[in-house]
């Protein structure tokens, strides 16, 4: 096989897999403009599902719930997780390994088990399902991701910097703010973003702890797909896809720009 045929074949393969990933999403977007309520035939163009979506109060309140839960839980998880990473780092190796292995547990165990275990806890202690139970559950599955993304930054950091700052007259708190925090900030931000997106996206755990009143968007979507065919879901998907696409393109363009600046700076230096 010649080199050209080879690269043609490889591009074809990439194209086929990408088509597999994107055709369902594209079909859904097309059908969000379908006049007919049925999922089969495309009868004509309309934007009424988008209008209905924005008038559907249960969807809007679920959206609000989702955002509240995501913001509150990822902020609290970030605080808890960053402190935990610093504390665990200061421990003896044996304890550290023990706790880190334990931290992996929720990451590796199936979400449904965490969901039912938290459900049992809330039911047993007669805590009614509300936004609080959902937030508590989200914090629980988010903290490990913060620890796991802050820990490598702590490991890379020169331990002596912190001590040097204290030798030079910083209080431990000042040394933390001025020396340690800037070093581990990238890890904290990555962790926060992971936690935030996981929280927005979570269904498997929220489903067991949200009850009727604190439904998040994914939980509502599930009940919509079960009850009837609802073209509003298509419209919702189209909007979400567009939002995600925009955010990704913006962050990516930003990354590229930063890199170019760094390259320029590198050449000068």
């Amino acid at each position: 096989m010649t080199k050209r045929q080879n690269s043609l074949l490889s591009n074809l393969y990439i194209f086929v897999v990408m088509a597999f990933l994107y055709v369902p999403i594209l079909v859904m977007i097309v059908y969000s403009f379908n006049t007919s309520k049925s999922r089969g035939a495309f009868l004509g163009f309309t934007t009424k599902w988008y209008l209905e979506l924005f008038q559907n109060e249960s969807i809007l309140s679920a959206l609000a719930n989702t955002l509240i839960v995501a913001v509150v839980s990822s902020v609290i998880a970030t605080l808890l997780g960053t402190a935990a990473a610093i504390g665990i780092r200061a421990m003896k190796k044996r304890n550290r390994d023990l706790i880190m292995n334990f931290t992996y547990l929720p990451v590796m165990s199936p979400e449904i088990v965490m969901g039912v275990s938290l459900m049992l806890l809330f039911v047993l202690f007669r805590i009614d399902f509300s936004l609080f139970t959902v937030i508590a559950a989200h914090i629980t599955f988010n903290v490990p991701y913060i620890i796991l993304s802050v820990m490598p930054k702590l490991r890379q950091m020169d331990q002596h910097l912190y001590e040097a700052a204290m030798d030079l007259g910083c209080t431990p708190f000042q040394a933390f703010i001025k020396v340690m925090l800037p070093e581990i900030m990238p890890g904290i931000i990555t962790g926060f973003l992971i936690a935030f997106t996981f929280s927005l996206d979570d269904f498997n755990i929220s489903y067991f702890v949200s009850g009727e009143r604190a439904q998040t968007l994914p939980v509502l979507i599930y009940s919509m797909t079960r009850k009837r065919v609802s073209p509003e879901i298509n419209a919702l998907s189209a909007i979400i896809f567009l939002v995600v696409l925009t955010v990704l393109i913006l962050t990516n363009v930003n990354d590229v720009r930063k890199e170019k600046q760094m390259q320029k700076g590198g050449r000068r230096g």
Binding site: L21, G40, A90, P110, M114, N204
Partner: protein, 271 residues
């Protein structure tokens, strides 16, 4: 150093929301409705052995298909120029940010008896085929939803394999196929291990894909558990026992894949 204290709030939180709840699952699994010790729940769970077996089997097929599709793709992406790599990886990740319920719903539109695929096939005189509510549809749903989880860890190990290693292998007399088998394959083992766990775990424990694409006719262990807690068959004791069985299955899976990778590497691959 007093810095250790910083971990206290997390440990307290984990005790309250991880240790106690997991303890409750264990407690419920070995007690009956009156709180007396019993192993009945596990015995009852064994009645569902076929369901458990088919969950594991479907998840294995889905994981194998993901590996088959993702391995060449990850390799091909990793040999592209830097800018192309970035774009392609972004394209792989983009669907992951759409909720998996929406992605599964999209397949309902495509596979229904009077859905898009059957209509297209009808135009050329084929079908209609019964596609939704089959095992194939459930596997398809798993592969579609979790394929990126396989591609990304594979890509992240393969992009670190230097092209000169391949050149060296061919200089030393390897055919391209041999170079792939003897250089790329061993170096990509940690990625394979991570990918397998990341696809197998959600596949074997799903309780949604089976309902949406299997029409409830193919019950998986996840559906069984869900029914015991939120469904008509309310029986948290049996549900807890089944949860423990599910955990055991996953521990076995992880022990098998763990032979390929060490924890330090795992940390980098997960994120």
């Amino acid at each position: 150093m007093k810095a250790k204290i910083a971990a206290a709030p997390y440990l307290l939180w984990a005790a309250l929301f991880i240790v106690i709840p997991m303890g409750l699952v264990g407690y419920y699994a070995v007690t009956d409705a009156n709180g007396a010790f019993t192993l009945d729940n596990f015995a009852q769970g064994m009645h569902f052995a076929p369901v458990i077996g088919s969950s594991v089997w479907l998840a294995i097929i889905a994981t194998a298909l993901c590996l088959l599709i993702a391995y060449p793709l990850a390799y091909l992406i990793s040999r592209k120029s830097f800018n192309h790599q970035r774009t392609l990886v972004l394209l792989v990740m983009l669907p992951m940010w759409m909720n998996f319920l929406l992605r599964t719903y999209a397949w309902m539109t495509l596979l229904e008896n009077n859905g898009v695929t059957n209509r297209l096939l009808g135009l050329i005189g084929l079908g209609p085929y019964e596609m939704i509510n089959t095992q194939g549809a459930v596997i398809l749903g798993m592969v579609y939803n979790y394929l990126p989880f396989m591609i990304l860890p594979l890509y992240s190990v393969m992009t670190k394999i230097e092209p000169f290693l391949m050149e060296a292998a061919s200089d030393l007399g390897c055919s391209p196929g041999e170079a792939l088998r003897r250089v790329v394959l061993p170096l990509s083992m940690p990625g394979i291990a991570t990918g397998i766990t990341m696809v197998f775990v959600p596949s074997v424990s799903t309780f949604v894909i089976s309902v949406m694409l299997g029409g409830g006719s193919f019950m998986l262990i996840g559906d069984l558990i869900e029914m015991q807690f939120l469904g008509n068959a309310y029986n948290p004791h049996l549900g807890a026992a089944l949860s423990l069985v599910l955990m055991m299955i996953l521990l076995i899976c992880m022990a098998l894949t763990d032979m390929f990778s060490n924890p330090e590497e795992k940390e980098g691959l997960l994120l």
